[in-house]
Amino acid sequence: MHTALNTLRTTPILSVKTESPTVKTYTLKDKLCAKAKPGQFLMLWIPGVDEIPLSVMYAENDRVSVTVKAVGDATRHLHSMKPGETVGVRGPFGNCFTEASGKILMVGGGTGTAPLLFLARRLATKAQRLSFVVGAKTKTELLFLKELNAVCTEQGVITTTEDGTYGLQCLVTEPLGKLLAATKFDMVYTCGPELMVSKIFNLTEQHGISFEASLERLMRCGIGLCGSCVIGKYRVCRDGPVFNAAQLSEVKSELGISKLGFDGERIPV
């Protein structure tokens, strides 16, 4: 690891964009994070509050964007911050999605859509077909519809809401059975709640399709030191956050089942 990556850089928030009632996108100036590849994450310091891992949603020139859902203390505090206010970043950390070609399917749940959008933008011109299933509880929480429609194959974006306010009324995983049966995809990528990831992993295994998923675990150091984020023998922050099917098979006894809590105790996912 290059220590420069892990050195804390403070930087003003350049812009804030509201994506949904609970989700905002923050754009920061940071040369190092601007070199992030899809799948990598950064550690965002909210001064005096907390430091949390966030996937990179976009990176270009000297700018990097992250898309954040307000779920607790840190993220709610971040949501109250305005352009010009100072945050800290270190990273980018972790590995990235391999960039496949051919027919590609992505499945995004919640803010898990963010790193996949980043990936989709990279693959758009290369992929033979690019489909995206994106789901949320309700219409207003569906993320990046316009952006996804712009990069995916025509009619490639399938939306699901749990309350049926938009698209199909079901979980994001439901349309997958049919999709995978109908088309021989070359690669399925996913990011989102771990139960979703685990379901999709089983499906792709049944269909014998290449698969990569980005996982989330409690993270502290972000550099593979403290052990907070481990799943099986892997450190999500350093060996991941992206894992392929072979690796996920090795950690089946934990995937979607248990993780470490703040005190290092094994708790349900």
Partner: protein
């Protein structure tokens, strides 16, 4: 004749090689400890575990310094009653000695945790009397000779396995602490834990760590740790395990020459990766061969001949 030049032993523990994982690094689960063994570690020390669960401090808990890290995790751990399962599991899958690191707020607590850890399968204990950023334990124990003696004696009375005492560099006279620990029964000493330190961000004008104060680890502290080991070697007969900034085989050899029978590696697991142990061992082996030594044990302390 095909003896393994890297094998070593101290306080009754036999190690395939003289490198061990330092406490607090990847030390929560059996699988990650085993990953480190696959990476070449000759032994592993778990995260420090106490009598009750602790959440640790909020992030930031680790901050990069010029030549090392400053950390204040706050001893997050699930408590020994949860951790015994991990110990038992580790005992089954681990292909190297399992050392459980123990902390407490009193001699009784240390002894209680120690007993449970040993019952679950710990092959040795390391007493953390040197964590520099949690109140009423760690270095606050190690800095007080009376309490330190009590802690070591009580643990020794409670268990049959080797007891290693991990020392703090944040003392006026480490030789004194070492003598107290040895007199109270320590079977080996680990030197050193992190050095008191902190980081401040000039932009926000805030201390970076949520706990404000933390401990410095990594290459920055190597010359400090090396002197501690060198001094201890002239002070006690007890085996010394060197720790602090060890990243390369050269670092490790310097510690052996200073008097360490084995070394622990922490921060380098992040600076490099878990295979850093293999890299160190390969280098040490090549060094021994080039210099004509048959065993790493032959070079322990020879920098003192001068």
């Amino acid at each position: 004749m095909s003896r393994n030049p890297l094998s070593t032993s101290f306080a009754g523990l036999k190690l395939r090689n003289p490198t061990a994982l330092a406490s607090g690094i990847l030390g929560y689960t059996a699988e990650s400890l085993q990953r480190v063994v696959e990476g070449g570690a000759g032994a592993v020390v778990t995260k420090s575990v106490g009598a009750a669960p602790r959440m640790g401090y909020a992030n930031p808990t680790v901050v990069q310094a010029n030549c090392g890290l400053v950390n204040a995790m706050g001893l997050p751990n699930p408590g020994i009653d949860e951790f015994v399962e991990e110990i038992a599991h580790a005992k089954i899958i681990l292909q190297a000695p399992l050392i459980v690191s123990v902390f407490g707020y009193s001699a009784e607590e240390y002894a209680l945790v120690a007993e449970k850890a040993v019952a679950a399968g710990a092959e040795a204990l390391e007493l953390n009397v040197s964590c520099p950023h949690v109140k009423q334990t760690g270095s606050e124990i190690g800095q007080n000779p009376r309490i330190l003696a009590e802690v070591v004696a009580k643990v020794k009375g409670a268990v049959q396995v080797p007891v290693i005492v991990k020392l703090s560099p944040n003392v006026t006279d480490m030789a004194e602490t070492a003598r107290v620990a040895v007199k109270a029964g320590a079977d080996a000493l680990t030197a050193i834990n992190t050095v008191k330190a902190m980081a401040i961000d000039v932009d926000t004008t805030l201390p970076v760590l949520s706990n404000t104060r933390g401990g410095l680890s990594g290459p920055a502290i190597k010359p400090i740790a090396l002197r501690c080991v060198y001094d201890l070697y002239e002070t006690v007969e007890t085996p010394i395990i060197g720790c602090g900034g060890i990243t390369t085989w050269k670092d490790a050899v310097e510690f052996f020459l200073a008097g360490a029978i084995a070394v622990q590696v922490g921060t380098a697991v992040a600076l490099e990766n878990p295979n850093v142990f293999h890299a160190i061992n390969r280098g040490v082996k090549a060094y021994l061969k080039k210099k004509g030594y048959g065993s790493v044990k032959e070079i322990v302390g020879i920098a003192h001949r001068a």
